[in-house]
Symmetry: C2
Subunit: 189 residues, 2 copies
Amino acid sequence: MEAEPRIIEKREKASREDWLLATLDVLRERGIEGVKVVAIARRLGLTSGSFYWHFRNLKDLLDSVLLFWEDALTGHIIEDALQFQGPPEERIRVLMHQVIREDASRPDGAIAVWAKSDADAAQCYKRAIKRRFEFSTWLFQELGFAPPDAEIRGRMMVITLMGETTNDLKQQENWPSVIDRHWRVLVDK
Amino acid sequence: MEAEPRIIEKREKASREDWLLATLDVLRERGIEGVKVVAIARRLGLTSGSFYWHFRNLKDLLDSVLLFWEDALTGHIIEDALQFQGPPEERIRVLMHQVIREDASRPDGAIAVWAKSDADAAQCYKRAIKRRFEFSTWLFQELGFAPPDAEIRGRMMVITLMGETTNDLKQQENWPSVIDRHWRVLVDK
DNA sequence: GACCTACCGTAGAGATGTCTACGGAGAATG
DNA sequence: CATTCTCCGTAGACATCTCTACGGTAGGTC
């Protein structure tokens, strides 16, 4: 179909987390049906024989990758925002910049598609999105919006950040100003 | 991985467009790597022998499906909005409801993932998104927003609609009120 | 130096998928 | 009624993928 991506040439031993990270890359680029043992192994410069030392089978890897995504990417953004000291609207602004800068939503699109055909992925995806919606709603409540207004603004923030990541906004050099303009619309009373 | 979807039981002759529509369904549910000749044929209650009468090969189908998506889904929404008679803010509201009601953004997520690993898909996807951004920017200019404000609001509208479709907002019974609340935030000066 | 553990490669069986070659059925046309 | 066009099924060559079985290697341990 298209160009084969970078391959690690330095033959080094890979950890279980190396396999998970490589899987997230493949997932993001080729979608869930592109996540093949041989494809990930090729990306790591290894073979499938090694894979089955770290994971029982492909299903085992997919289960692990779901939990890894939910925990690592959604979780630590929320923790950072909770620790933020400063005015509520600035906290929202900093969070929005962080999500784009760190590509925290990078695999989300592929996982959303995955969720269409897999019950486990759907459950995990819905749980993660619900958590984001609830947290962002709380952020806008702290800013002084009444619950219904806070809810729709929080919802828009989450969706906008996911969409801008999907559309590779970060590749544009002026992405911080675009985020600031999103922020201004959302925060304006 | 998961449940196999509905299969057309009545053995009827399929047109080229039937194959394209079935392909869009498979694309939406399984992603681009899930688009296999045998999978689409199974969904239509046919075999791969029939497929190669309508298409030269898989690549031919994929090329056609890209053009079909761009033309059919983005195009007619814009045409409808252009013909709308009424105040500019009502035109935006009607368009937003129409996009959700008709699932006009249904395959978008899968095509966005596809675009990560295929240059043709990337080109088509970017072209379609650009067209939506430009049109929605124009809608907000008609509403009286200055170009930079109209641009960010139009951008948010497009992204929000795509995101809500991805998250199956339409499955909620109260989706029209959620759209109205999105609309109110975007239209508010 | 013998041993053990962690990690990797190879070979191969079985499943699934692409695509070609070819033959057959039904509707439309003469 | 005969022919043609359109659409479809089957069979098979070839490729790719999952997963098992098993053997190999490098670094730490006694």
